[in-house]
Assembly symmetry: C2
Homo-oligomer: 354 residues x 2
DNA sequence: TTGCACCATTGCAACGATGCACCAAACTAG
DNA sequence: CTAGTTTGGTGCATCGTTGCAATGGTGCAA
């Protein structure tokens, strides 16, 4: 159906081997004119080497995997685009997988990717344990965990890339404290994931710095068992706002798990007739595209996504290119923790006088 | 490195052919006990067939391509997730490509996908002409164009899937007219893409139905030459709002190209001190996740994305499975136009009395 | 003149799975 | 009892590319 290397060889009057040599940059081993003839033939026939055949032979793949909770969440969509851009610069493509935060789907996807010859995957999972994908890493899969920090049980070769969640949450919380707020709430879904826990620690650290105790704060983490999916963050925020604002002693400021959740909180506050930015302050996390389009524009913690995507790709590239021993004992395991940045907009303001 | 079919065969005491037969559902050609032995061996060794080898031999691929302008736009992210879900149900995966609305990138990506053995692609491009990808379609690529309607020069096998943009825009506009608005604006970037044009026609049709002329309307389509990318829609809306509201006779209602643009308009109106929903009405298009989180929640036209994604996958599946003649003369070319739906929220209200 | 090194180029055996054509054994019919 | 058929399973060429080992031709030193 398509043009093969044999047809190119015939057209150029050389052997397939020579064409292969041209294709793989071994053109110093032949006469310049030969190389030219081959290149002309390639152009004339519009030949492109067959990917699967190449991959079968070499074991290398130009495709890398990306497993995210859900691209419908703009945060992950944006990350996906940055990662794709980094991959494209090196001539790679990205295979997209939505895990819906389900460990079984994460594992299934990684296994399929492995069987498809994909040797490098960015896994966006904030689960504390990665044991469900360990067998593949041991077989030689290069794995970069995104939005997650290193844990004791991690395989030695694992690279973690994340923003410093504790620092981010601390920045957010201190911003509120400096504005005079003394009754704060932290809104999150369940605290199972490592980065939610880290953000909570940052929240607590900031409070301690101001001499506040648990008495002055309230933590809202949703219905105990119900687990919120990635598209339910806004609902979560809305419910949280409804419940928190109906209590006898409502908080004057809220630190939200992320921007989607913060937008939900703003909507919930609006439902309750409160003016966000004056009656109630809200800080988000991520700085998604829509954060500064919200009403009021959202004060939030920015994740340096382009730099994070570049780093993720670079590690993948290095890992896949490196020695691929059966033990997966490549060097370079560890964590890369980037510094987040506070972006002040209008959803936060001085604490109202009681 | 990985387990091969030969090892499974050895483990089960049969030939590779028999294992292949089991793998491909030809198990009626063997004793039940043989089949059982093979399946046990597969499970014991954790064998998964090598994708590239399989694909090289059969020409079939389990991967399909998706080319979108940018997954950072939540509309495309959501569509990507729905398409992936449909593909997953049939055991397929999705390779993601961001074209940034650049025809050259569209073509390059399609060529790479084709070389990778991918025979079915959903192309989300609203360019009037698809000539830059025609050669591949002629070679046998099954192409589904999304968010675009049929054009005269289209290849016969091309399937177009889109919402009825004209009807959608007409619904939006009539909603405003029925609320008493008589001075309307249509905000779009350049009108090059077919669906923007269709939306504009729907806008005009509704106006005519109410006996209004071009005198009463104003069209804003950005700086003539500057072309806005997918992430610039909010900026576009904001600029439009700023300019439109500063004129001597500002519109009381605006039909926006899409939700991202509408959110920008809302932000722009807020900058100008206007209350959206009372002073100014705004209608969006798409119904992205964040539409009902906006302040005020956005009245918009909903695209039935899950149904559209299912249809896109179904056509791809049928096309790739069908006869793959060199002429690309498969049956089933044409358009599928789904009906959009008006979702009324709070960004629209009765026209203010002048 | 022979031997050797060097050069551009080519032959060939893989990579792992597939599926057609074939085969041996067991059964059936006449 | 033999010819024909069915059953259960295998051998082998093949998909397109790669890269090592091998080819034969040329130039140079001995």
């Amino acid at each position: 159906m398509s043009v093969t290397i044999h047809q190119v060889a015939a057209e150029a009057g050389v052997s397939p081997s020579t064409v292969s040599n041209v294709l793989n940059g071994r053109s110093d081993r032949m006469l310049p004119q030969t190389r030219e003839r081959v290149e002309e033939a390639i152009a004339r026939l519009g030949y492109r080497p067959n990917g699967p055949a190449r991959q079968l032979r070499t074991g290398r793949s130009q495709v890398l995997g990306l497993v995210v909770p859900s691209v419908a969440n703009p945060f992950w969509g944006t990350f996906a685009r940055h990662l794709e851009a980094a991959a494209l610069r090196a001539g790679h493509r990205v295979l997209l997988c939505n895990s819906e935060r389900d460990p079984a789907r994460e594992r299934d996807y990684l296994e399929e990717l492995w069987a498809d010859g994909i040797r490098g995957v960015v896994l966006c999972s904030s689960l504390p344990s990665l044991e469900h994908v360990l067998p593949l890493v041991e077989q030689g899969l290069t794995l970069v965990a995104f939005d997650r920090t290193a844990q004791a049980g991690d395989p030695p070769s694992l690279v973690n890339i994340s923003v410093d969640n504790a620092v981010g949450a601390e920045l957010a919380t201190r911003h509120l404290l400096q504005l005079g707020h003394r009754r704060l709430a932290f809104v999150s879904g369940s605290l199972r994931s490592v980065n939610r826990r880290a953000r909570f620690r940052g929240f607590e650290a900031a409070l301690e710095g101001f001499g506040l105790t648990a008495e002055d704060t309230v933590v809202w983490s949703g219905a105990a068992d119900h687990d919120y999916g990635d598209l339910d963050f806004p609902d979560l925020g809305r419910s949280a706002a409804r419940e928190l604002l109906a209590t006898g002693r409502p908080p004057t400021a809220i630190v939200a798990l992320n921007d989607m959740c913060a937008l939900g909180i703003i909507a919930g506050a609006r439902d309750a007739g409160l003016q966000v930015g004056t009656d109630l302050s809200v800080v988000g996390f991520d700085d998604i595209v829509l954060a500064d389009l919200a009403s009021p524009p959202l004060t939030t913690i920015r994740q340096p996504l382009p730099a994070m995507a570049d780093a993720a790709f670079a590690h993948l590239h290095a890992g896949v290119g490196g020695t691929s021993g059966t033990g997966g004992a490549r060097s370079g395991g560890g964590s890369l923790l980037l510094r987040p940045e506070l972006v002040v907009r209008s959803s936060t303001g001085p604490a109202p006088r009681a």
